[in-house]
């Protein structure tokens, strides 16, 4: 088994499975967050957040999600290090843009930037809700005010969150179909299908996460 986890294809399986798991989480997370802009009273979002905080299944999933992130991130560095080592003398002139997509060549950079965003994001919201709930208690509309409040008062935060959404979308524009290819769940018929579904998914993620801060930045709420 340990041989499997360090073999080139084994490493990729780990990336793919953890990536697929994270993509399911992202879909759920986006669905819940969109409640922020569909109900300005905030009660829908608060109900959703309450459900997530109390549901036993979600409680079990929380540490598993954390683990999923850790595995994906740690393995990504192992994998990229091994791949980087495989070419000790670099080319003086490279012309790779015609042969492969930019996102596919920069998955580590995109992932690392997503990670930077993720840390800020966790400090902004998750940390507060989890470890200093007293900061939310005085807010009239609880969790909703914490999130919507940040977006209402800080254009900087809005822009940061828009960038975060776009970066994740770019990561997934390659990552989605790639994870099926890695598992071998692909053939000449499915390649195009996975890529189309992947592009749609990536656009939904990028646009979906971006319109939330945009909505507050442009003052579209009542």
């Amino acid at each position: 088994m340990s041989k499997f986890l360090t073999a080139s294809i084994g490493r990729k399986f780990v990336m793919s499975l953890s990536g697929l798991f994270l993509m399911v989480f992202i879909a759920v997370h986006l669905g819940l967050n969109l409640l922020l802009i569909f109900d300005d009273s905030g009660s829908l979002f608060n109900e959703g957040a309450h459900f997530m905080a109390t549901n036993p299944l979600i409680k079990i999933m929380e540490p598993i999600l954390g683990l999923g992130f850790m595995i994906h991130i740690i393995w990504s560095f192992f994998l990229e290090y091994q791949n980087w080592k495989a070419r000790p003398v670099k080319y003086a002139k490279k012309n790779m843009s015609g042969a492969s997509s930019w996102a596919s060549r920069n998955m580590l950079i995109l992932g690392a930037l997503v990670l930077v965003f993720l840390v800020i994001h966790i400090i902004d919201f998750f940390w507060v809700i989890k470890f200093s709930p007293e900061e939310i208690e005085h807010l009239a509309k609880g969790d909703y005010d914490l999130v919507a409040g940040l977006f209402k008062e800080s254009i900087f935060a809005c822009i940061l969150y828009i960038i975060g959404g776009v970066l994740l979308g770019l990561h997934l524009s390659h990552g989605f179909w790639s994870s099926f290819q890695t598992l071998g769940v692909n053939n000449k018929f499915w390649l195009k299908r996975w890529q189309v579904i992947g592009q749609i998914y990536a656009v939904v993620v990028a646009v979906g996460f971006s319109i939330i801060p945009l909505y507050f930045m442009l003052g579209l709420y009542k």
Partner: protein, 253 residues
Amino acid sequence: MADKILKELKIKVWRQKNAKSKGKFETYIINDISTGSSFLEMMDILNNDLIEKGIDPIAFDHDCREGICGTCSLYINGRPHGPDTEVTTCQLHMRKFKDGETIIIEPWRARAFPVIKDLVVDRTAFDKILQAGGFVSVNTGGVPDANAIPVSRDDAEEAMDAAACIGCGACVAACKNSSAMLFVSAKVSHLANLPQGKVEAKSRALNMVSKMDELGFGGCTNTRACEVECPKSISIMNIARLNREYLKSRLSR
């Protein structure tokens, strides 16, 4: 259409005395090259010039010069086998270049393909991968009737497409990870699709991938650069099959 003449080209080429020495780029000027000549003919003309000037000619690999042996290599202007698609360097023509252009020529760069001299790299790593699993068991005795074993048309076609791989190493050179996955997947697919290849099916993918890792090739991240640069258009769908075959071998032990 008559061939044009490229009056002057600057050839910036990697010179390295032997495997141990450090190596550096040298720039040579070459005049009056017909656009109808092949890239390797241009190299021959350049080497003649160098010999006349008492300079050691540039070492580069070539053999068949008709796109079937896979010996010629060269990373030209940032791409394996240069600016044309679906061709080897010996099939590349000078009409793909402009008068006055600087052409940068480098050897394949990969830890598993060390430079021996100038543009020549040691590709025995591919032979070692083949020895690890790219073979089938054959009974001694009489030759079996070719039609006795039914093979579906689709399987035969896919096996033949994969068998078109000439082992040139452009996939490794093109890959940002120096991965040999396209090569390995072509060899695995070519055998896994045919009944004759079933005997070793369980261990083949595992053994070949383990060898590939051991020799210092990188892993695949599905950028697809390999299939674009492959002179034989080997498809990355073979890599998906290799991944399946690998998973199967892993799970069966």
